[in-house]
Symmetry: C2
Subunit: 203 residues, 2 copies
């Protein structure tokens, strides 16, 4: 699972995480936050984007251990163009953390050449130079008036940076899972995420 | 995973599925239906009942293959008092099917000594004598006025028959995931499921 690819000097995470190359057939994603931040739903939506709207294979899971009573909640997605023989995330290509506790537990699990996305306001990540810091929860509030759309913003950021699924597939999957009456809000949250990803890529 | 336990002649599925014995440390559950029947959420709730409210370990997952565009949707839960080394469901102790397509694909996957629960009105299961047939969707409508509570009724039936988690833990987990304003409805759906399980056991 480890490669000898040289670290890229630019900020093209599409290439860096390798999700659009033919050589990499499997992408592992770990989404972590506090209970109530909707990371499980985000994982389900991402898996549905890949499978229902792009015809690929996916496994989405959450493991609950002794820590389930509080603290960090994590959700995992594996997306592949082929069969998924091993349904476990071993060395994630992408890790998203929306809380300090999630960062503490899972930030170090990202693949050395992978992508780490953190909520800049929720996580003190100054010790990890490679982290992409964006005020995800604040962006959710500013774009929709509801912090609970942070998970949708995070999906927009993740897909905008990695292209692990197409924007169109993600939009369809988000809207299919949006409670009636929240479609517009979720659409705005996604757009905010993609816009932020665009600024990171140009930055 | 297979045992030499003699088939029990009575209808005590608690003993039959072995979920309350000390010898069986791992219970595998597969929940299947159509998209929109809420089987993924049912799996998440069951895992949270076991972990957050009973301090055990669980893995909850869904695998999406080429069939994801329609037809049967399945959700899986593994509950264990110990660590879960293999997060795949291999030979489920319990299979629940709420649609004909789900029955066709997954009914035969249940362990020979396991428990198969089907929605009697949705599934023609006459070829499988051992199936427990209950009109789950109809019970949902009759108890709450909403067929979308069928997943909650199914959880009540499953837990009532297997005791894989306590009723109290399941109630807490259901209510923690119930959208605001639907607590009473979900409580009624659960009660209907447990009542039906009680009638099966006595029958």
């Amino acid at each position: 699972m480890t490669g000898s690819r040289a670290p890229s000097g630019n900020r093209d995470y599409t290439a860096r995480t390798g999700t659009t190359t033919k050589m990499v057939e499997r992408t592992e994603i770990r989404l972590a936050g506090e209970g109530g931040q909707g990371m499980i739903l985000a994982g389900i939506i991402l898996a549905e984007a890949a499978t229902i709207y792009e015809g690929r294979n996916a496994v989405q899971s959450q493991s609950y251990g002794p820590e389930a009573r509080g603290g960090a909640s994590k959700s995992e997605v594996i997306i592949s163009s082929g069969e998924i023989d091993h349904p476990e995330v071993l060395l994630p290509d992408v890790v998203v953390t929306l809380s300090q506790e999630a960062f503490r537990k899972f930030a170090s699990t990202v693949k050395p050449t992978g992508l780490l996305i953190v909520d800049a306001d929720k996580v003190n990540s100054s010790s990890v130079p490679k982290a992409i810091r964006l005020p995800i929860t604040k962006m959710a509030f500013e774009s929709t008036g509801r912090v609970i759309t942070a998970n949708t913003v995070a999906l927009g950021v993740l897909v905008g940076l990695t292209k692990v699924v197409s924007r169109q597939a993600l939009e369809k999957a988000v809207l299919a899972r949006a409670p009636r009456g929240t479609e517009e809000m979720n659409h705005k949250a996604l757009a905010a995420g993609f816009a932020a990803a665009g600024r990171v890529k140009k930055g």
